[in-house]
């Protein structure tokens, strides 16, 4: 018994001399990590606020900071009708648009972070896994069946105000089905967590659903430009009314995802261990599918298919805020919002007075990031 090995630093008999000193040390360090998460959140929020302001000031016309702030102030106090032309450009056109960009970006960032946690793979993203395509198929199908499709794509841009309010619901159902299909395919296909299996599954599901959606859109409408803009992601249809329509879906989706944070942390240890911690992987999966589908559906219904925000935002924030989902999910929402607001600003500035669909900008930015992550993984 005397030969029983002891751990370094641990005296026999269970008395641990250095423990009393090192425990506060460890606690201080963990507080430092929490502070890091807090700082990252604050930085992302600041970037978003600055992005919103700059984006509201700039476009075809550059509007001064004071006019912009005055317009926002008047609008908030219910005196928007008194605004001059410049003021109403800010309040009626630009603010709904930049806020829609922020809402859509937050939804994509949060969905991406949650899906990366669910799949335990940093390449999961609503766009790459075919979920956005599922939402677009659901929305198109609902528009077709209700006969609203031609009107929705009139005037060269998507206008959902003509369609009934069930379009986002149909989009959410399509998104959920696509996510379930990707989950089932990637599980059936290969060893668990296999990046290749996951991406292949997502690509197949996405391509099939995009084809179906495109077929429906082109079947009886010759509004190629509007359809094309939707497929590429476009924020030009944003209005206060549409923002109000999108908010309940995006908001409740994000709230559901936030509620999954700790469970997603536990899931990183594997399903078996998560279960012995009292976490139900099944319920967690359903929660993420539900939340991500709602959030993605809101994005796709009102802004089309926007890729890579859900990939890039969580990837950046995981490095800054750490991998714990209680910080990572809100941080990814903020970063996604900031990213999309800035991408939209870029799309409006680069070729003004025309504008690039925001999906093109995010794809140009996100593609290289995707390749970089893929390279690191293999």
């Amino acid at each position: 018994m005397n030969a029983e090995p002891t751990l370094p630093g641990v005296a026999a008999g269970g008395d641990v001399p250095f423990a009393r000193d090192s425990a506060p040390f460890a606690r201080a360090r963990s507080q430092r990590m929490r502070r890091r998460a807090g700082l990252s959140l604050a930085a992302a929020a600041l970037l978003l606020a600055a992005g919103l302001l700059v984006s509201a000031m700039n476009g075809t016309l550059t509007i001064s900071l004071s006019t912009t702030l005055h317009a926002i102030g008047s609008g908030l106090s219910g005196r928007a009708s008194e605004l001059d032309t410049m003021g109403s450009i800010v309040w009626d056109l630009r603010l709904p648009r930049v806020l829609m960009a922020a809402l859509v970006g937050a939804s994509l960032g949060g969905s991406g972070a949650a899906m990366q946690g669910l799949f335990r793979n940093p390449l999961a993203d609503p766009y790459l896994l075919g979920i956005a395509s599922g939402a677009s198929f659901g929305a198109t199908l609902a528009l077709t069946l209700s006969g609203h499709l031609p009107a929705a794509f009139a005037d060269g841009a998507l206008d959902l105000s003509v369609a009934s309010r069930f379009v986002p619901i149909a989009a959410a159902l399509g998104a959920a089905l696509a996510l379930l299909a990707t989950l089932a395919l990637s599980r059936a296909n290969a060893t668990r967590g296999g990046t290749t299996a996951l991406l292949l599954a997502g690509t197949v599901v996405g391509s099939v659903l995009t084809s179906l959606a495109t077929f429906l859109m082109l079947r009886d409408a010759d509004r190629l430009r509007a359809v094309f803009a939707w497929t590429l992601g476009n924020l030009s249809s944003a209005s206060w009314a549409n923002l109000g329509r999108a908010l309940p879906y995006a908001g409740s989706g994000i709230v559901v995802l936030f509620a999954m944070a700790r469970g997603l942390d536990a899931l990183q240890l594997g399903e078996d261990t998560a279960r012995t911690l009292g976490v139900s992987p099944r319920r967690l999966r359903l929660g993420v599918i539900f939340g991500a589908s709602l959030a993605t559906a809101a994005c796709v219904s009102f802004a089309g298919i926007i890729g890579f925000v859900g990939l890039v935002a969580p990837h950046v924030m995981r490095r800054l805020a750490g991998p714990g989902h209680r910080a990572l999910l809100p941080a990814s929402c903020l970063a996604g919002a900031a990213l999309l607001v800035l991408a939209d600003l870029g799309g409006r500035m680069l070729v003004r007075p025309a504008e690039l669909p925001v999906g093109i900008v995010t794809t140009l930015l996100g593609g290289p990031v995707f390749l970089w992550i893929l390279r690191q993984r293999t």
């Binding site: 030969a3 029983e4 090995p5 002891t6 751990l7 370094p8 630093g9 641990v10 269970g14 641990v16 423990a19 090192s22 425990a23 040390f25 460890a26 606690r27 360090r29 963990s30 430092r32 990590m33 335990r120 967590g193 944070a261 700790r262 469970g263 942390d265 536990a266 990183q268 240890l269 594997g270 078996d272 261990t273 279960r275 012995t276 911690l277 009292g278 976490v279 995981r318 750490g322 991998p323 714990g324």
Partner: protein
């Protein structure tokens, strides 16, 4: 001794394959039990069944307390999230107590620190798991299980990636847990390590072949038969059992793995 968990005529089938057949096992408070046997003997299946992760095809597993936090399970070569810090990982063990919503309480913090101290991982607290050696990762993973303060601790081959010193250290840590009242069940490949536990459970082909004190169970003749390779059991001059495979001579069938 009071019982923590038991298996009664436990049978587990995967499709047409029977992984465990009518296993009877009682686990007691403060006991360090090793589970040994050749590959495919059903060791991991037994552990998962005891953990409630797979259900019995027939027979039953009963635990005194059904609450999740009374049980901790460490899977065979558990895949750790490389970007979590060691401390963040160990804190996850407290989910079993605090649930998914509450923040960590002072009691949780104490449990985390205690678990990390007992596994000598406090100095790794701030390191990312991906930057730790295999042995360090194994210790942090064990700390996560200990932070759950379980009454039943199930460890599936926790020594697989460890060198001799770290194997011995790990056994010393779980020995101390058992002395504190936890029932520890550990799957081991190294029979000499198993000889240092309170009780050995020998599985082969899904059947419980023997169980009891190591010096009663670990005898050369039956082990040679079970493992299908010649094995000698010797006593060191410190009085401990050592199980040694001797030179392998293929049988006529040559069927070994």
């Amino acid at each position: 001794m009071s019982i923590v968990a038991c298996a009664q005529a436990l049978t587990v089938r995967y499709g047409s394959r029977t992984a465990l057949y009518e296993v009877n096992l009682e686990l007691h408070v403060g006991e360090l039990v090793s589970v040994v046997g050749p590959n495919g003997a059903g060791k991991s299946t037994l552990l998962k069944a005891l953990a409630g992760l797979i259900s019995a095809s027939s027979g039953r597993v009963s635990r005194v307390s059904a609450e999740a936090h009374k049980l901790a399970y460490l899977a065979q070569s558990e895949r750790l999230p490389g970007d979590f810090s060691a401390r963040e990982l160990v804190e996850l063990g407290r989910i079993a107590h605090s649930g998914l919503w509450r923040r960590l309480s002072a009691k949780d913090e104490l449990a985390v620190e205690g678990a990390m101290r007992r596994t000598s991982t406090l100095e790794l607290a701030d390191r990312e798991l991906g930057s730790l050696s295999g042995g360090e990762q194994q210790r942090v993973a064990l700390a996560r299980a200990l932070a759950q303060e379980p009454r039943l601790l199930l460890l599936d081959e926790p020594t697989s990636h460890l060198d001799l010193r770290h194997q011995a250290e790990l056994l010393a840590v779980v020995r101390r847990e058992a002395e504190g009242g936890t029932c520890v069940v550990v799957v081991l490949h190294d029979l000499s390590l198993a000889a240092q536990t309170d009780r050995c459970v020998v599985l082969a082909g899904g059947v419980l072949r023997a169980q009891g004190r190591p010096d009663a169970v670990l005898n050369a003749e039956s082990l040679s038969q079970i493992y299908e390779t010649p094995i000698e059991v010797v006593r060191t001059h410190a009085g401990e059992l050592a199980v040694i495979p001797t030179r392998f001579a293929p049988t006529n069938s040559g069927a070994t793995t």
